[in-house]
Amino acid sequence: MHELSVCQAMLRQVEDIARREQAISVERITIQIGPLSGVVPELLQQAFSIAKCGTMAEAAELVTASQPVRVHCLQCGYESDVQANRLLCAQCGDFRTRLISGDELLLASVELTKN
């Protein structure tokens, strides 16, 4: 339910970029949302459909992409794709792992129309 706040922050960022680039509108916003980012892509899409009204991104498409949750084992060094609530090494089963992808919350790119 904090997706609306996240969405509004994203739109402020996007509009800043669009103004800096002297664009007339925003066509596409591409973001990365990992399963462990704490943000739900579907809810962000819903929030976007409301929050974009009256902004330079009013007609924009929001593209969300997700990375697999992937851990590096600090014990055996193996890298494996795992579930978001089971971050154990798939090779040796150890829990001492480091997350290498899956918690992204990243504005990757914007596509703008200029004059």
Partner: protein
């Protein structure tokens, strides 16, 4: 995290956004701009500003997160009883409505600022910055920020705190870490609260809660506490002592760093 700007580009996703990657795409009539910024960069910028304030005044800031009713305010009251003669403590309280929690803290003789968020389900760095204007930072050693009771949203917003403490009460179920991995992964210390109720509850097993935490690669302290019976309070207070002492004497390489 990337060391230079705090964004979340890792070697796992970098290929997607570099030239030729699927997010570097440009169609014919549009201009594509690579951004590569954290989605909450505005909040993060304010959070690092808050952190500089804390550091300048030598204040250790701790963010308490949990679901509603897991005993954050009660824990703070008891922690204040034990520590108020040794440290100068302040509290920022976050709730949707009412001054009730701040009033409970003020009754202990401790300055407390209440943030009422209205409908917002979390605190953010800007709200904390507003509250800092009313907080006597120069007089404090330790600042607790009691976040809005919620196991989801607070985890996404950096407030500028140094440490996160997540509470899990024994009335909630020992599988909470598996259900809400983001907020438990963010914790520097997990407190299993209301332990005095354990004899009455046959469905909460602290060992299972520990296993559930281990499965999300949680590798920091877990303490079973009761603010009512004082069980585990020694361990929690000793951890706080260690953190306060470490903050008061940062490693040499950090001391020279200008603000």
């Amino acid at each position: 995290m990337c060391d230079t700007c705090g964004c979340n580009i890792t070697h796992g996703n970098r290929h997607l956004i570099e030239e030729g990657g699927k997010h570097a795409h440009t169609s014919d009539d549009h201009v594509a701009i690579e951004v590569l910024e954290n989605l909450l960069s505005e909040n993060d910028h304010q959070a690092s500003h808050n952190r500089q304030h804390f550091d300048k005044h030598g204040v250790l800031a701790i963010n308490l997160m949990s679901s509603p009713g897991s005993g954050k305010t009660r824990l703070l009251e008891r922690t204040i009883d034990h520590l108020k003669n040794r440290y100068k403590i302040g509290v920022i309280e976050g709730d949707l409505e009412t001054e009730n929690d701040a009033r409970r803290i003020r009754d202990k003789g401790i300055p407390a600022i209440q943030i009422t968020t209205g409908t917002a389900c979390h605190l953010d760095a800007h709200m904390i910055h507003q509250a800092l204007h009313q907080t006597p930072l120069a007089e404090l050693d330790l600042l607790f920020i009691e976040n809005v009771g919620n196991l989801v949203c607070p985890a996404s917003f950096d407030l500028g705190q140094h440490l996160n403490v997540t509470l899990l009460s024994v009335t909630e179920g020992d599988d909470k870490p598996a259900k809400y991995p983001v907020i438990f992964r963010a914790a520097n210390h997990v407190l299993i609260t209301k332990s005095d109720l354990l004899p009455l509850l046959d469905d909460f097993n602290p060992e299972k809660a520990n296993q559930s935490l281990q499965q999300i690669a949680y590798n920091t302290p877990v303490t079973l506490v009761s603010a009512k019976s004082d069980q585990g309070m020694d361990e929690w207070l000793a951890w706080l002592d260690t953190q306060i002492n470490q903050a008061a004497s940062p490693p040499a390489e950090l001391q020279a760093e200008p603000l």
